[in-house]
C-alpha cells in the first residue's frame, strides 16, 4: 500500500525548493523565468530543438551524482523530485569571475546576439563535467541540440577545445565544490512513496515503484505516462493539451537498468538514449551510430527507448533497428507482464498493442551473431538532430556459399508504422548475395511500401532512397565505401 506525500523537493542552484502545488504540465522553464526570475535561461522554440533553455539536471544514478543537459522548455516541474537543477546563473563566482567555460566563450568571440549563449554554455559545461579532454567529434555531438544563428559555430567549437583539457576544479566550479552535500541532500529527497500533487482539478503522480505504477494505471487507465517528455512536452507547449492526471516515471530506478543475459540485453523502459549508448554501441555498433544522430544531447538525456517505442510514431528512430534485431517488448499491468515481438506491437498508424492499464516495462534485444551483417541508415534533411525522412535497418546472414540464409529489413518513414519489408526480404532470401540479386530485390520495395509526400521528403525520394540503401548495404558488406562519415572514429 502506498502512502501519499504532498511535495516535490529539489535543489535549484544553491537553494532548496519545495513545491506543494503545481500543474502537471507546468514547465521548468516557466518555473525558472516566471517564478524565480532566473532569466538567463531563454525560450527559443519551446519544443526541445534549439537548446536556448538548456540547464543541467543532476540526479543520483546507482548512487553516483550525474549531471545531464536537458531542455527546460519541455521538462515538467513535476518530474524534478530529488534532482539538482543548475542554471547559467550558478556558474560564475559570487565576485563575478567567470567560469572557465564562460571565459573561453568570451575570449574566442563565441557570442554575437547572445540569446543562444547561455544554452551553449550549459551544454558545454555538461560535457566538461562528464568527459576528460573531449575532442571535436565529442564537442559537435554535445552541441547537436543547440542552435546558433549568428556565429557559424566556429568560435564556439574553438572555445570548447580551448577549455577541453582544463579539469573541473573545486576552486572555481560550483558543482564540484558542493558534490558531497548535494549527494546527501538528493538521497534524502528521494521518496519510495507515491507523491501526489494537484493544482485545481489537475493532478500529477510520481510513483516510487514499478508496482505502484501498475496499480496507479489500473486506477487511472487514461493517465498520461511521462518518462522523458520529449514528445509529451510538445503536446503541452505546441498543442496546449490539458493532461490529467500525469504520471511521471523518470525517477523509477527499477525501469532504468540494462540487464545482460546470455542471449541478449533487456533495456528498461526508463533507460535514456544516453544511458543506453555505451552498451548498444558495443553490441550493435550500427545502432550506436544511429543513436549519435537521434535528437540533440538534451533529448538523448531525457528521452527513453521505451518512450520511443511506446508512442508508436511511424518515424521513431529506434524501432527499425530493434525490429531488424528481432527485439520484443514487455508490457506490464497490475495483472502481470506479457511479451510481444516488437514488430507486432505496431498495429497501424496511431494504434499499438498496449492496452489501457499497461505500460512498457522493458525491451529485450537478442544478441547479434558475429557473422551477421547489420546496418542502420537514417536519411534526413539535416544530418543531425532531425527527424528521419526514412530510416532503414538491414540485417542478413550468409552461408559459406554466399547465399542469404536470414534477412530482416525494417523501415521507418515508409508507412504508417515502422514496418518490415516482407517482399524485399523474400526477394533476397535464399539468393546469392550479389548485385544482381540486389537489383532484382529493389523493385520489391514498391510492394512493401507506399510512402507519403510531406515536408521531409516526397514519396518518390523516399522510395528511391530506400531502394538505394539496399544497394549501399550490399556495397558496404562488400567492403566498398558508400556512406559519408564526418569523423572516422566516433566517440
Amino acid at each position: 500500500m502506498t502512502q501519499s506525500a504532498g511535495s516535490i523537493r529539489f535543489i535549484l542552484n544553491d537553494r532548496d525548493i519545495t513545491v506543494t502545488s503545481v500543474s502537471p504540465t507546468a514547465t521548468l522553464l516557466d518555473f525558472l523565468r516566471l517564478e524565480h526570475r532566473l532569466t538567463g535561461t531563454k525560450e527559443g522554440c519551446a519544443e526541445g530543438d534549439c537548446g536556448a533553455c538548456t540547464v543541467l539536471v543532476g540526479r543520483l544514478a546507482n548512487g553516483e551524482l550525474v549531471y545531464e543537459s536537458v531542455n527546460a522548455c519541455i521538462r515538467f516541474t513535476g518530474s524534478l523530485n530529488a534532482t539538482h537543477v543548475v542554471t547559467v546563473e550558478h556558474l560564475a563566482a559570487k565576485d563575478g569571475t567567470l567560469h572557465p567555460i564562460q571565459q573561453a566563450m568570451v575570449d574566442y568571440h563565441g557570442s554575437q546576439c547572445g540569446f543562444c549563449t547561455p544554452g551553449f554554455v550549459m551544454s558545454l559545461y555538461g560535457l566538461w563535467l562528464s568527459k576528460d579532454n573531449p575532442g571535436r567529434a565529442d564537442i559537435e555531438k554535445t552541441l547537436q541540440g543547440n542552435l546558433c544563428r549568428c556565429t557559424g559555430y566556429e568560435p564556439i567549437v574553438k572555445a570548447a577545445e580551448a577549455v577541453a583539457s582544463a579539469r573541473p576544479d573545486a576552486l572555481f566550479d560550483p558543482i564540484v565544490k558542493m558534490r558531497k552535500e548535494i549527494i546527501a541532500k538528493l538521497a534524502a529527497m528521494r521518496s519510495p512513496d507515491t507523491i501526489r500533487l494537484s493544482d485545481g482539478d489537475a493532478s500529477l503522480i510520481v510513483p516510487g515503484t514499478a508496482a505502484a505504477l501498475a496499480d496507479l494505471l489500473a486506477d487511472h487507465p487514461t493517465a498520461t505516462v511521462v518518462a522523458g517528455s520529449t514528445d509529451v512536452g510538445l503536446w503541452v507547449t505546441k498543442q496546449m493539451r490539458n493532461l490529467n492526471p500525469v504520471i511521471f516515471i523518470n525517477g523509477l530506478e527499477e525501469l532504468q537498468s540494462i540487464h545482460e543475459t546470455g542471449d541478449g540485453i533487456t533495456i528498461g523502459a526508463g533507460v535514456s538514449y544516453s544511458a543506453a549508448f555505451d552498451q548498444i554501441s558495443a553490441r550493435y555498433p550500427a545502432f550506436g551510430r544511429l543513436l549519435d544522430r537521434l535528437g540533440g544531447e538534451q533529448v538523448r538525456n531525457m528521452g527513453t527507448i521505451g518512450g520511443n517505442v511506446a508512442n508508436g510514431s511511424p518515424i521513431g528512430d529506434t524501432p527499425p533497428p530493434l525490429i531488424a534485431l528481432g527485439a520484443s517488448v514487455t508490457l506490464r499491468s497490475k495483472s502481470g507482464p506479457r511479451t510481444v515481438p516488437l514488430e507486432d506491437y505496431f498495429i497501424e498508424y496511431g494504434r499499438q498493442e498496449r492496452k489501457p492499464g499497461e505500460f512498457v516495462e522493458s525491451i529485450f534485444v537478442p544478441n547479434l551473431p558475429d557473422d551477421d551483417h547489420f546496418a542502420v541508415y537514417k536519411i534526413s534533411k539535416r544530418r543531425d538532430e532531425d527527424i528521419s525522412a526514412l530510416c532503414g535497418a538491414f540485417r542478413i546472414a550468409l552461408d559459406g556459399s554466399n547465399q542469404v540464409t536470414m534477412v530482416r529489413i525494417a523501415f521507418g518513414g515508409m508507412a504508417g508504422t515502422p514496418k518490415r519489408a516482407a517482399n524485399v526480404e523474400a526477394a533476397l532470401m535464399g539468393k546469392p548475395w550479389s548485385e544482381e540479386t540486389i537489383k532484382a530485390a529493389q523493385a520489391a520495395f514498391e510492394a512493401d511500401y507506399k510512402p507519403l509526400t510531406d515536408w521531409r521528403a516526397t514519396a518518390a525520394y523516399r522510395m528511391l532512397a530506400a531502394k538505394n540503401l539496399l544497394l549501399r548495404f550490399f556495397l558496404e558488406t562488400s567492403g566498398e565505401k558508400a556512406e559519408l562519415v564526418r569523423f572516422e572514429v566516433t566517440a
Binding site: 532569466t39 547559467v88 568571440h109 532512397a465
Partner: protein, 780 residues
C-alpha cells in the same frame, strides 16, 4: 611585465581597428544580458496572443469570439475595429497590410484578432477558442503557379537595361536559356519577436520592441493610435538576432501591445511562440529566374536577358526594394555588354515576404552564377575560367559599367580571386577531385570558387543618413547613443571604438546606451549592412564637434595655438603639458563649454532614378570569394562540406574579431539557405515548416569541416568611410554560393561534367539525388 602607469600608457584600450570582444560578451555568457522578455515587468502587466486564421484566402463571414472572452483571465479581445485610428501598418505606405485581418484572410495564419489576458498561457489558450466562419476563395501559394497564371504584382516592377540584349542574343555564337528556382528562408533569430508597451500620461506611450527599426515602430504605433510621433518612444538595447526579420515585422506586435496598453492603461507584452512567429512574419523571398545568355567559344558573355519573379506574399512590405536589389546583383561580379533585367514582384497568398540579409541580392547573384555555370558546362570548361573572363575590368577599361549604369570604380575582385585561388590550392585540388571521381562509385566530390561583389548603401537615398548623441560628463565619462540597433553584429562595440579613438580614451570610459527614438530621431533601419558606416560616422561627427569646442577652450585657457593641442591616450596635450582627460573635462565644464553634441552623417555621391534605371545607387562595393569542397553520396543525395577557404574584403577592419565573426556566421547562414533550409507549404496553403523540428538551420556539425576564413588585410575602402572600413553584415552571406556550385559539380560528375546539373536551391539531399538521377537517366 608592463610597469607603465596609467599616465605613461602610450595607447588606449579599444581603438578603431582593434580586435575587441563584443561589449556584452561577459553578460551573454553569464545570462545577465537583458532581452525584452527579461526586463522586470511593471505591476499588472498583461499578455497578448494572436488569434490566427486557418485559411490561405477567404472571406470572414462571421467571427464569434464569445468563448474567447469568456475564458477566466481574459481581459479583452481586440479586432480590426479596435484600432483607434488606423488598421494599417504597411511599410511601403500602399495601405495593403492590416494589423488584424478585416473581413479578408490573405494567408494561412493571418491574425484576425488578439487576446489580452492576465498570463501569456491564458491568452494563448483562449486564442484557440474563436469560431470563425469563412467563405473560401481560390488561393495561390506557389511562385510558378503565380507566374504562369498571371498573378498581380504587389508593387511596380523594375527594368534595368543597357545596350541591345535582344539583338546581341541573336548574334552570339552560342545561346542558352534556363530556369532556376531559388527558395526562401526563415530568419530564425533565436529571440522571437516581442514588444512590451507601457502607457504614459496623456497620449504618451513607451514601447520596448525587438526591432531593427525603432523609428518605424514609432511611426506605426503613432499611426495606429492616431497620436503624433512625439508621443511615442521606442527603445531597444539588444535583439537576440535580426537578420532583416525585425526591420518591419515587429510593427504588428508593437502596434497591438500599444493599442491594448492605452485601452486598458496597463503594460502589455506580446511574445509570440516560435510557431506563431514563423507563421505570422515574413521571410526571404523565393525566386524563379528565367535566363537567356549569349556567349562566344571562349565563354565571354555577349548579352544577358533575365526575369526575376519573386514570391512576395500578400502585401508589398519591402518587396519593391528587395526585388530591385536582386536585379542590382544579377550581374554578380561580371560585365554584361548588353543586358536586360526585369523583376516581377508577384502576389501570393502567403505571409508577406520581407528583408533578409542581402535583401534580394543573394538571389540575384545566385542567378548570375548559374549563368556562368551553364556556360562552363556547355563549353566543357572550369567555371572559374569563365568567371575570370567575364569579371568587371578596371575602372576605365570599357568593361566597368553595371546594368544600372554605375561605374565600378573600386574593383579588387581580380586580386581577391587570384590570391584565394593560390592560397586554397584550387587548381591542384580540382584536378585531384576529378581524378577521385573517376574511381569512386558512390561518393563524389566537387569544388567551386565563387566571387562576391555587393553594393553598399540603401537604394532609397534618403535612408542613408544617421544621427548620434554624445555626452561627456564632468568626470570625463562618455555616454554614447546612436540610431543603430544591436542585434549581435557588434555595432555598439564598433561605434564605441570610434568614440574611444576620437577622444583617445580607454573604451571602458564609453557607456553604450539603448537605442531610443527619444535621443536620436528619424533614424533609418539598421539594415543594408550600413550600421557602422552610418552610425560610426555620426558618432565621429559628434565627437568632432565636442573636440572643436574643447580645442577652442584650451587654446584660450592656455593661450596657445590650436595646432598645439592634441588628444593623446587618456590625456589632452597642450604644448608640452599633459592634462589627464577627466581633469581637462572638469575645467572645460567650469568654463561653460558645451560637452554634448548631436552628430549627423549622410552618405555622399549616391543617387538613383528608378524610373530610368540609372544612377549611382551604391557608395562602394564590398568584395570577397570562397572556395568550397564537398562530398556527396550519389545513392541518397546526402552531402558534407569538407573544406571552405574564404578571402573577404572589409576594407580596413574596424574590428577584425567581429568582422571574422560576421563572415563565418554569414557563410554558415547562407549555406543553410542553399542547402537544408526548406520552406514547405501544403495544398491548403499552410506553412508546415514552422519550427526547428521541421525547418533545419545548420548545426555545429554542418559547418565546414575545415574552415579557413581570412580578411584581405591589404584592403582599404577607396571612399572616405569611417576608418576606411567597409560594411560586413551582408556581403559574406553570398560566399556559400560556392557550396551550391560544388554540390552541382559533384552531381555533374555522374554525367562526365557534360551537362549543367541545374541544381535548384535549397539543394536538399532530395534535390541532389534527384539531379543525380536525372543526369544518369539522360546519360543512359
Amino acid at each position: 611585465m608592463d610597469k607603465s602607469t596609467f599616465e605613461e600608457r602610450k595607447t588606449i584600450t579599444g581603438p578603431m581597428h582593434s580586435a575587441l570582444r563584443h561589449d556584452s560578451a561577459h553578460k551573454h555568457v553569464s545570462g545577465t544580458a537583458d532581452y525584452i522578455d527579461d526586463i522586470p515587468e511593471p505591476a499588472g502587466t498583461l499578455h497578448g496572443a494572436l488569434g490566427m486564421t486557418d485559411r490561405a484566402h477567404a472571406e470572414i463571414l462571421s467571427m464569434d469570439l464569445s468563448e474567447v472572452e469568456a475564458c477566466p483571465g481574459v481581459v479583452c479581445v481586440l479586432t480590426a475595429s479596435d484600432m483607434p485610428h488606423s488598421n494599417d501598418i504597411s511599410p511601403s505606405h500602399l495601405d495593403d497590410e492590416p494589423v488584424l485581418a478585416d473581413g479578408l484572410v490573405q494567408f494561412h495564419g493571418q491574425p484576425a484578432f488578439a487576446v489580452i489576458a492576465e498570463t501569456r498561457d491564458i491568452a494563448r489558450r483562449a486564442a484557440r477558442k474563436a469560431k470563425i466562419v469563412y467563405r473560401d476563395l481560390p488561393h495561390r501559394t506557389d511562385i510558378l503557379d503565380a507566374l504562369e497564371n498571371g498573378a498581380e504584382v504587389v508593387t511596380k516592377p523594375l527594368t534595368l537595361a543597357r545596350g541591345d540584349a535582344e539583338a546581341e542574343l541573336e548574334l552570339a555564337p552560342h545561346r542558352l536559356t534556363g530556369r532556376m528556382r531559388i527558395g526562401g528562408q526563415e530568419h530564425f533569430y533565436l529571440e522571437s519577436h516581442i514588444a512590451m508597451a507601457i502607457p504614459g500620461e496623456d497620449d504618451e506611450i513607451t514601447v520596448w520592441s525587438s526591432t531593427q527599426h525603432p523609428s518605424e515602430i514609432q511611426h506605426m504605433v503613432s499611426h495606429v493610435l492616431g497620436v503624433p510621433s512625439n508621443a511615442v518612444t521606442v527603445q531597444v538595447r539588444r535583439m537576440g538576432g535580426g537578420f532583416g526579420g525585425k526591420e518591419t515585422q515587429g510593427n504588428q506586435f508593437a502596434a497591438l501591445a500599444a493599442v491594448a496598453a492605452k485601452k486598458l492603461n496597463r503594460a502589455v507584452k506580446f511574445r509570440p511562440d516560435r510557431d506563431e512567429d514563423m507563421t505570422a512574419t515574413g521571410k526571404r523571398h523565393d525566386f524563379l529566374v528565367d535566363y537567356d545568355v549569349g556567349f562566344d567559344d571562349e565563354g565571354r558573355i555577349h548579352a544577358v536577358k533575365a526575369n526575376y519573379a519573386a514570391r512576395c506574399g500578400y502585401s508589398s512590405d519591402l518587396s519593391g526594394p528587395v526585388t530591385d536589389r536582386a536585379l542590382f546583383h544579377a550581374d554578380s561580379s561580371y560585365f554584361y555588354p548588353h543586358v536586360k533585367l526585369t523583376s516581377q514582384p508577384l502576389k501570393t497568398h502567403t505571409v508577406s515576404n520581407t528583408a533578409y540579409r542581402g535583401f534580394g541580392g543573394p538571389q540575384g547573384m545566385v542567378g548570375g552564377e548559374r549563368i556562368i555555370e551553364e556556360i562552363a558546362y556547355a563549353l566543357g570548361k572550369d567555371p572559374l575560367e569563365i568567371r575570370k573572363l567575364n569579371f568587371y575590368g578596371e575602372k576605365g577599361s570599357g568593361r566597368d559599367l553595371t546594368p544600372y549604369h554605375q561605374q565600378v570604380e573600386d574593383n579588387i575582385i581580380h586580386r581577391i580571386v587570384s590570391e584565394l585561388e593560390a592560397s586554397a590550392d584550387y587548381q591542384v585540388r580540382r584536378k585531384a577531385i576529378i581524378a577521385f571521381n573517376k574511381t569512386s562509385r558512390v561518393i563524389r566530390k566537387g569544388i567551386a570558387l565563387t566571387p562576391v561583389k555587393f553594393g553598399i548603401s540603401f537604394t532609397m537615398t534618403a535612408f542613408n543618413q544617421a544621427g548620434a548623441l554624445v555626452h561627456v560628463y564632468q568626470d570625463g565619462s562618455i555616454h554614447l547613443n546612436h540610431g543603430g540597433t544591436e542585434m549581435g553584429q557588434g555595432l555598439y562595440t564598433k561605434v564605441a571604438q570610434v568614440l574611444a579613438d576620437s577622444f583617445q580614451v580607454d573604451i571602458t570610459n564609453v557607456k553604450i546606451t539603448a537605442t531610443t527614438t527619444g535621443k536620436v530621431p528619424n533614424t533609418s533601419a539598421t539594415a543594408a549592412s550600413s550600421g557602422s558606416d552610418l552610425n560610426g560616422m555620426a558618432a565621429y561627427d559628434a565627437a568632432r564637434q565636442i573636440k572643436e569646442r574643447l580645442v577652442d577652450f584650451a587654446a584660450e585657457r592656455w593661450q596657445t595655438e590650436r595646432e598645439n593641442i592634441s588628444f593623446v591616450p587618456n590625456h589632452v596635450k597642450i604644448g608640452d603639458e599633459l592634462v589627464p582627460f577627466p581633469a581637462f573635462i572638469k575645467q572645460a565644464y567650469f568654463a561653460r563649454v558645451q560637452l554634448s553634441a548631436a552628430g549627423f552623417y549622410k552618405t555622399p555621391k549616391i543617387h538613383w532614378d528608378r524610373n530610368t534605371g540609372r544612377g549611382t545607387p551604391f557608395y562602394y562595393f564590398a568584395y570577397g570569394a570562397a572556395v568550397s569542397e564537398v562530398s556527396i553520396d550519389t545513392l541518397t543525395g546526402e552531402y558534407m562540406i569538407d573544406r571552405v577557404d574564404v578571402l573577404h574584403d572589409v576594407g580596413k577592419s574596424l574590428n577584425p574579431a567581429i568582422d571574422i565573426g560576421q563572415v563565418e556566421g554569414a557563410f554558415v547562414q547562407g549555406m543553410g539557405w542553399l542547402t537544408t533550409e526548406e520552406l514547405w507549404w501544403d495544398d491548403k496553403g499552410r506553412l508546415r515548416t514552422h519550427a526547428p523540428s521541421t525547418y533545419k538551420i545548420p548545426l555545429a556539425s554542418d559547418r565546414p569541416k575545415i574552415f579557413n576564413v581570412k580578411l584581405a588585410e591589404w584592403a582599404e575602402n577607396a571612399e572616405m568611410t569611417i576608418g576606411r572600413s567597409k560594411a560586413v553584415g551582408e556581403p559574406p552571406f553570398m560566399l556559400p554560393i560556392s557550396v551550391l556550385e560544388a554540390l552541382s559539380m559533384a552531381v555533374a560528375s555522374v554525367a562526365d561534367y557534360r551537362e549543367c546539373p541545374r541544381l535548384d536551391a535549397p539543394a536538399t539531399p532530395e534535390r541532389v539525388l534527384m539531379a543525380v538521377e536525372r543526369l544518369r537517366t539522360e546519360k543512359a
